[in-house]
Symmetry: C2
Subunit: 413 residues, 2 copies
């Protein structure tokens, strides 16, 4: 893809966004169903393109975990189509009046949700993101520029052909969905495309996100990593603490809202920690502890660092003297995603909620609920760990901006 | 200021922000009054520092308009103090529950407003911005790093000494307000300070804003320029059109919500334009027109370009064939700030409101109402022309982010 090709794509997406922005919910839902139908109608082409990607990746020595994420089959394609159809069942954020009031002179002010315009998504291997992200953007009235990885390029091409066909079938401008192809310089061009792209959303590992955040001149919605802590207060119901710890650590260890570090009040450590270690060990979790934890259980491994996500069945344990120290500890290591306190003490609960600065604070509940589906958003484009625009799970509303509409009958200042 | 000095300042501001974030409204309002008292108590020092800035600027040949913006006197200082006191009368955005709901399993979710943390303001000569911006940040629970211009450095130093004294007097951490001094490299450092500064707000001319938007790795709230259009539809009440045009163009021509281009439907141009020209001329406005306007009035000057703000008593006139062409024209030249239609046709009003993508759309009202005070926000840090986080006038709420608080009694997924 040459530079002029990118700007042509982006200009096409901008033009398409102007008509898309004012489509009714029925128009957009019809398009989502047509996109789903078209994905299934293109099954042979998509799966054959995916086989090419798989072969190329195997030959290049790509690991099994990545290959699994890359692979498509009939049931995964069916799931992608179903995802598009379920978007159609969600209410439309566009046109929602967030607030309205009247100025003293009678001018009426409404703040109304409107689409962003053109959203750029930069993501890694999973080809299902292609359909998922395109669907969320179309439902929220936005055009989308999809920058997938070279590993999945054949799959993404075939999927985008099908999705564009769906838009055409539903009489929507097919330029609203575009695949951005080419070498690294095209990513740079996309990150610099102020005025052509309204917001960039990187979806993938920490290094991808960091590169986009640092390199982009276009505003970015950062979906960050989750170095999540669970603090077990002196007043905790220890049965609840064990249940939530096991759920947060083991139910799906590879995701960003999974637990990474257990922080225990020293006054209950001798009683609680042996139970916690037993439960974790039963679930196959490898445990590392600080010096005080290793005095209680000398079998624990030594902690090497406190700042990274494991994304695996590993956990770190720290012992602290009371809630103040727990808060200091978590402040030093949090990635600002999700932090939890298990406590029966209302003052401690309140202090933790107030003092911990992150997207989601949990009191006596599992951090695994930090999730758009769990929140009831119906769809999620990622979990924002930044403070601007959106923080926490991002659904359809977070893909919109607002416009003030002021209506009068001749008022002047 | 050396690099380590900046990061020390920023770290101090971060630490101060942690305690500031959980202060009550009464604490913060007390501090605002103490800051106002301290400004007045430091009058001699501030005015003498300002004289130094004025002398240095005069010697450097700075123009009269800029000198006027730089100059302080007793009454301007009084106004700064009054501004701080009026912030104390506004309600506190922090702690507001924006929405709350319950998950099917009984976990309660609240989305709560919390401060950003550390806000960086990069601004030009006016020293009153120093007190104004500091007050807005303190009221919204944020620390502030103030990067003023070298022209006003002595004034800013004296003002910040006074403001910090006010914080101390009210038992708040004085590190919550800091002046960032030094050469251009410190601005670069501030723009790169991810993790230390949560958001940067440039306040000033287009070149300052552009440099910050392009150079910053910290998220930016862009306060942009206003190339505002007034479209007079075929169905317009022409008396209202003249009133609003004169108000929007002449009431305060130097501001971003002032009118820059008049767009007239060709079907009424022969009737409307001569009246408009007479009214504009009566108000001392210099008028440039496109070819068709200059056929109606050959005395009009030629239009050189359509994309810049005049910020003066100048206006451009374009004649278009109907609302579609008017929308196309405005889309080509809008800066996304404020656009107005004068029309009595409901379908045309609706079309204009839907199709014009900008922060504020006006129907039969003056664009001069695009203003935080006019909106009833009580305070304004600027008018955002970007789509992320805030769009349009930004008040105290826009200086906050949110946090999800999830409370359960042991729920797991």
């Amino acid at each position: 893809m040459t530079s002029s090709t990118f700007s042509n794509l982006a200009r096409g997406a901008r033009e398409a966004s102007l008509s898309l922005a004012i489509k009714t919910r029925a128009d957009k839902d019809g398009a989502l169903h047509a996109m789903a139908d078209s994905l299934l109608a293109h099954e042979d082409a998509i799966l054959s393109a995916n086989s090419e990607d798989m072969e190329r990746s195997r030959a290049a020595g790509v690991g099994e975990a990545l290959l699994d994420r890359l692979q498509l089959d009939s049931s995964r394609l069916e799931a992608m189509a179903l995802g598009l159809r379920s978007l159609a069942s969600l209410s439309d954020p566009v046109g929602e009046v967030i607030r309205g009031w009247q100025l003293p002179n009678g001018v009426h002010v409404d703040q109304v949700r409107v689409p962003m315009g053109v959203i750029g998504i930069i993501y890694e291997a999973r080809p299902n993101v292609t359909a998922d992200a395109a669907g969320i953007c179309i439902k929220s009235g936005n055009s989308v520029l999809l920058r997938g990885s070279s590993t999945a390029v054949s799959s993404n091409q075939a999927i985008v052909v099908a999705l564009k066909q769906g838009l055409s079938d539903a009489c929507l401008d097919p330029r609203a969905i575009a695949l951005v192809e080419g070498d690294r310089s095209v990513t740079d061009e996309m990150m610099a495309a102020r005025g052509l792209v309204d917001v960039l959303i990187p979806r993938g590992g920490a290094s991808l996100i960091d590169a986009v955040v640092r390199g982009a001149q276009v505003p970015v919605l950062e979906t960050g990593s989750g170095n999540c802590h669970l603090y077990v207060d002196a007043s905790a119901d220890q049965k609840i603490a064990i249940d939530i710890m096991i759920n947060a650590k083991t139910q799906r260890p590879s995701v960003c809202n999974a637990l990474e570090t257990l922080v225990v009040d020293s006054s209950i450590a001798n009683e609680f920690l042996p139970q916690a270690i037993m439960a974790l060990t039963d679930h196959g979790v490898t445990i590392r502890g600080d010096q005080r934890a290793r005095i209680i259980d000398p079998n624990l491994l030594e902690v090497e660092e406190w700042d990274h996500e494991h994304l695996s069945l590993d956990i770190r344990v720290a012992i602290v003297d009371g809630i103040e120290k727990a808060i200091d500890f978590i402040r030093s290591h949090t990635s600002g995603h999700s932090e939890t306190i298990i406590s029966s003490d209302a003052a401690h609960q309140k202090k933790f909620v107030n003092d911990i600065d992150c997207a989601c604070v949990f009191v006596n509940a599992s951090s695994r609920f930090a999730d758009g589906e769990q929140f009831g958003f119906g769809a999620e484009i990622g979990i924002s760990t930044q403070k601007l625009h959106a923080r926490g799970p991002m659904g359809l509303s977070e893909m919109t901006t607002t416009k003030y509409v002021l209506t009068g009958d001749g008022q002047v200042r």
